[in-house]
């Protein structure tokens, strides 16, 4: 079977449609992950012990099980208890929840990496807890987190094809659908790969820049 450029141009608009959904899912999924991650991190670090433990377990559980199965669960099982989500929303929640657990770990590590002495210095200069967080801890904790978070953002972007399994018409699903009606897999699948590669290479450059900008402290 030969590579067919005409076919490539013919399916391009369809694939671009899919790419839009892919990007949409990535953006909202990332926003949700950033927020959920914060909740997880705060619960784990500051909540009473039983709640902190339960949170830790939930985080471990989500991290230890495949996103695909979680998506199936959210999409097909949750309606049994009356939660019926549109496919795209279910996908975004799945992505957000899954990557929220990764974000939580980044937040936690970032905060714990601020040296003990900074807390003591804040106390010694009579700052309140709130002032300590806002003026001392977070400004030091956040910059090193940024490259790590961006890394997970890229990872999440690359997992969006899983949403095709719950009927979201993103890039992969559009490609499959094209393949289904034309019986040709080579062009759609290769193009999807190329799309992802291009986006990833761009984001790798961006990530390197972020690392240079924010994470130089780690290297000595």
């Amino acid at each position: 079977m030969e590579w067919d450029w005409n076919f490539v141009w013919e399916i391009m608009p369809t694939l671009i449609e899919g790419l839009k959904i892919t990007i949409l899912a990535t953006v909202f999924g990332a926003a949700l992950a950033a927020a959920i991650g914060l909740v997880f991190a705060i619960l784990r670090m500051t909540a009473p012990k039983p709640i902190a433990r339960a949170t830790a377990f939930v985080v471990e559980f989500i991290r230890g099980t495949p996103l695909l199965v979680q998506l199936y669960f959210i999409f097909y099982v949750l309606p049994d208890i009356g939660i019926r989500l549109p496919a795209l929303l279910a996908g975004i929640i799945g992505l957000g929840l899954h990557y929220g657990t990764y974000a939580a770990e980044v937040y936690r590590a970032g905060i714990e990496n601020v040296p003990r002495g900074q807390w003591e210095a804040a106390k010694a200069t009579n700052l309140t807890g709130r002032q300590t967080w806002i003026h001392v801890i977070l400004p030091q904790a956040i910059p090193p987190m940024i490259p790590a978070l961006a890394n997970y953002l890229i990872a999440m972007f690359k997992e969006t094809p899983l949403l095709s399994a719950i009927t979201v018409l993103e890039l992969m699903n559009q490609a499959k659908s094209v393949a289904n009606s034309s019986y040709r897999y080579i062009e759609p699948m290769t193009l999807v790969g190329v799309f992802f590669l291009i986006m990833s290479l761009i984001s790798v450059v961006f990530l390197r820049w972020l690392e240079d900008r924010y994470a130089r402290v780690e290297e000595h």
Partner: protein, 283 residues
């Protein structure tokens, strides 16, 4: 580390080659010989009862694989090994040499006939809808769905029903591609789609299993033709297909064919009253 890296890389490449070293399938009249030798034919199925099914013990059944198993036995190929696939992935999979034949109720249509080599007809069925009790949107044909801007239809990706819906003018965003029957029924029950379309016998099986009084069946769908499937071979494997046809004809004649498919609810007479030529020409 330099030279060593090269050596390690070579070793790595060796491992890869070992994994990759699977013989590419050849495609000519020696195909049947090849199948006889390996002792089984690889078939693609969909796990959509009663066309195709997988039992709790993993055994493959359903009308289509059962017929194929019998025909292959007569051809001297003792067994079939099935892999479950989405409808849309079947023909690309066949072309990619993933399986030797599709026995899945993949209905004959002109464009499919152009892509694969079909046997003579095996299983015939009309199309059906599963919908909410009382058919609230009054959907009786694919056209009805196209005309109602609120109606969403679920269908297997790359299946006949998806095409029928699109051809009737239902816009892409209202044709939801559903991975499998169970998901389709679930989405109907959950109200994500308004109608789920499959062949009559498949819908009946699904709805019977679900035992949900909230779901009803419209069968057959108005204006939709009766379709028949055949065993689909790769283009180039026509010799194998012809041999298959010869044995299939014998089974039909002896009545054995009816014995296999009628318990599943299919009509042997329907399959025997038409031919591949007619079905592939039909529009």
């Amino acid at each position: 580390m330099s030279m060593r890296t090269f050596l390690t890389m070579t070793a790595g490449a060796g491992v890869l080659t070992a994994i990759v070293a699977a013989a590419p399938a050849s495609a000519d009249d020696s195909k049947l010989e090849e199948l006889r030798e390996q002792g089984f034919a690889r078939v693609a199925i969909a796990n959509e009862p009663p066309f195709t099914a997988v039992a709790a013990d993993g055994k493959v059944s359903g009308a289509a694989p059962d017929v194929a198993r019998e025909v292959f036995k007569h051809l001297g190929v003792n067994d079939i090994v099935a892999s479950i696939s989405e409808y849309g992935a079947m023909i690309p999979g066949l072309q990619a040499g993933r399986h030797d034949v599709i026995t899945a109720g993949l209905f004959m249509k002109p464009e499919r006939c152009a892509a694969v080599a079909y046997s003579e007809p095996i299983l015939c069925d009309a199309e059906a809808f599963a919908l909410k009790k009382g058919n609230p949107l009054k959907l009786k044909s694919y056209k009805d769905i196209a005309d109602n801007p609120d109606a969403k239809i679920g269908a297997p990706g790359g299946g006949t029903e998806e095409k029928l819906a699109l051809e009737a003018g239902v816009p892409r965003e209202r044709v939801i591609v559903v991975p499998d029957g169970q998901s389709g029924l679930k989405m109907l029950q959950d109200g994500r789609i308004d109608v789920y379309s499959l062949p009559v016998l498949s819908i009946n099986d699904l709805v019977a299993k679900a035992n949900d009084p909230g779901v009803e069946v419209v069968a057959p769908v108005e204006g939709a033709p009766v379709y028949c499937d055949g065993a689909a071979f790769k283009k180039g494997d026509e010799a194998l297909r012809d041999a298959f046809d010869v044995e299939l004809a014998k089974l039909k004649k002896s009545g054995e064919f009816a014995k296999i498919i009628e318990p599943y609810g299919f009509s042997a007479a329907a399959a025997m009253s038409t031919t591949r030529e007619k079905l592939c020409a039909a529009k």
